[in-house]
């Protein structure tokens, strides 16, 4: 029972981490290696607005999500647009931005164990005999709702459909009047906001430390590779596989092997099925 409950929670938090990365890659084919940095900076911005400026928690969250969105969009507009289409340069450029943000934060004095965000709700409840605090429950619900919301967004709204079109065939979308640079910028903004949402939901469970930016990046890449790059539904399912695998490892082997699971999942996927679990696009091409 413990495994089931905490496995689900862990999976949802992994899905939250990976969604933004999957979305940006799926639409603009830009592997956003600054994803972890965007996650952390959202935590610190919220912390600053809440603790230093003294805004209410809710307002601080909304503001910092906006900041994150703008940050993501300007990252594309001013830097990545210049290297678009060259995957190695995209990785180097976005990783460099990530490094600047993370190490800049460290340099600016954001280190140590003193930065925490409050949880949404104190207290806990019992699920099947396992104590779970309210915050984790809220996180799981919001996480699942977010995935559902994203699905509705990409299938029923004008912008969402345009993003989907671009993800599948950029040039065909262009012929229909969809501006690919604008859409990639929107996708980048969305990705950054999703990273921010993940941060705000997950960070209150621990301290905000710069190092976890790298951790988040690795986890989101793992989720995306296992799920099939570019497929965010795949990423969601992969999050569950890795999430449960991690919890099982913690219970039966030892908690310090947790990270190995993610890396192992990447390696195994690349050996056995390089297109990932849901990399349908490639498979379809192979069949044709």
């Amino acid at each position: 029972m413990e495994i089931l409950v905490y496995g689900t929670i862990n999976s949802v938090s992994l899905a939250l981490m990976g969604l933004g990365f999957a979305m940006v890659y799926g639409i603009s084919r830009v592997p956003n290696f600054a994803h972890g940095a965007l996650y952390i900076i959202c935590g610190f911005v919220t912390w600053t607005l809440f603790q230093i400026v003294g805004l209410s928690y809710f307002v601080a969250i909304i503001l910092s999500l906006c900041v994150n969105g703008i940050l993501g969009m300007s990252m594309y507009r001013f830097v990545l647009i210049r290297v678009r289409g060259m995957s190695i340069s995209e990785i180097i450029a976005s990783y460099a931005i990530g490094l600047v943000i993370l190490e800049g934060l460290r340099f600016g004095g954001f280190r140590g164990m003193t930065y925490t965000l409050p949880v949404f709700m104190e207290g806990s409840l019992m699920i099947g005999g396992v104590p779970v605090d309210y915050h984790r429950v809220v996180m799981t619900i919001i996480g699942v709702a977010l995935v559902a919301g994203l699905w509705v967004f990409t299938h029923y709204t004008r912008i969402g459909l345009a993003l989907q079109g671009m993800a599948q065939d950029e040039r065909a979308a262009m012929m229909l009047g969809i501006d690919s640079d604008f859409m990639a910028m929107v996708a980048m903004g969305f990705g950054a906001v999703l990273a921010g949402v993940a941060a705000i939901l997950i960070l209150p469970l621990g301290n905000i430390v710069v190092e976890s930016g790298y951790h988040v990046l690795i986890m989101s890449i793992a989720v995306c590779i296992v799920g099939g790059l570019g497929s965010w539904m795949g990423a969601f399912f992969a999050a569950f596989i890795i999430g449960y695998a991690q919890i099982l490892t913690v219970v039966y082997i030892g908690s310090h092997f947790q990270m190995v699971v993610a890396i192992l999942a990447i390696i195994l996927t690349l050996i056995l099925k390089p297109s990932g679990l849901f990399g349908q696009q490639k498979e379809l091409e192979e069949r044709v």
């Binding site: 459909l161 989907q164 079109g165 262009m174 229909l176 969809i178 690919s180 696009q281 379809l284």
Partner: protein
């Protein structure tokens, strides 16, 4: 309405389009015929602006150097430097070679994505119109684009282009690889669409015979140059054209 003047396109030093001047007036169907590598697709890309995107991508990746000279005019205004998305907004919609449907989206979604530039009312009206012109699509609404036959895909592709509210529709080899029956169905559909929506159509094809009955004016390309042009009647009577493009000697 849409006009190309002395259009030249080079891939590195290879001349893909050589001094092409073509013109399509309001409510006209213009045919562009030519064999493989005659420059039909290059012409379509140059008209729709996709060439600029290809040029930019090649340039960034350090690939082929693509040079465009000449001019493309829409209603006597030069659109040579206009991005593809803006040209689409101005009413030039390309329905590309090999259709390029969104394979993982359903037929309905393909059409909806096509309606990006349309208002809600326009999209709804055009959607109904597409189903009316191509009733075969009604029962395929939920099918994924990748699992349609070639003819069905082409219907969706044309429908998708119509959803973008074109003033001038560019069709690049719409009949490629289709059965004669499907070809005539599509050609009839295209004619109906042109008349009922009051749009202009430029249609490129390798083989002239199926398309010829509906064109008002046609150009024949060879190795990137327009070697012949004329109204349908003029070309019909030309013995060289007959031999080369109708298979009659």
């Amino acid at each position: 309405m849409l006009e190309a003047k002395d259009l030249m396109v080079f891939y590195e030093n290879m001349l893909a389009l050589n001094n092409i001047s073509i013109k399509c007036d309001d409510n006209q169907i213009v045919g562009v015929f030519g064999a493989n590598s005659a420059g039909k697709s290059t012409l379509m890309y140059a008209l729709s602006g996709i060439m600029l995107d290809i040029q930019k991508k090649e340039d960034m990746a350090g690939g082929e150097r693509i040079t465009l000279t000449g001019d493309v005019l829409l209603q006597n205004r030069s659109i040579m430097d206009m991005k593809p998305s803006l040209r689409a907004k101005a009413g030039i919609i390309l329905c590309p070679e090999r259709r390029r449907l969104f394979k993982e989206s359903s037929v309905l979604e393909n059409l909806r994505i096509g309606g990006y530039l349309a208002t809600r009312a326009e999209a709804k009206q055009t959607m109904e119109y597409v189903m009316e012109v191509f009733p075969a699509l009604i029962k395929l609404k939920k099918r994924l684009g990748g699992f349609l036959s070639g003819g069905e895909q082409q219907m969706v592709a044309i429908g998708r282009a119509l959803m973008a509210q074109p003033k001038i529709l560019l069709l690049d080899e719409p009949l490629l690889g289709l059965s004669p029956f499907m070809q005539s169905t599509l050609i009839r559909g295209i004619k109906v669409i042109q008349e009922e929506r009051n749009i202009s159509v430029i249609i490129s094809e390798q083989y002239a015979r199926p398309v010829f009955p509906i064109v008002d004016y046609a150009y024949i390309l060879e190795n990137g140059a327009a070697v012949m042009e004329g109204t349908r009647e003029e070309l019909m009577d030309n013995p060289d054209v007959k031999a080369a493009y109708f298979g009659v000697s």
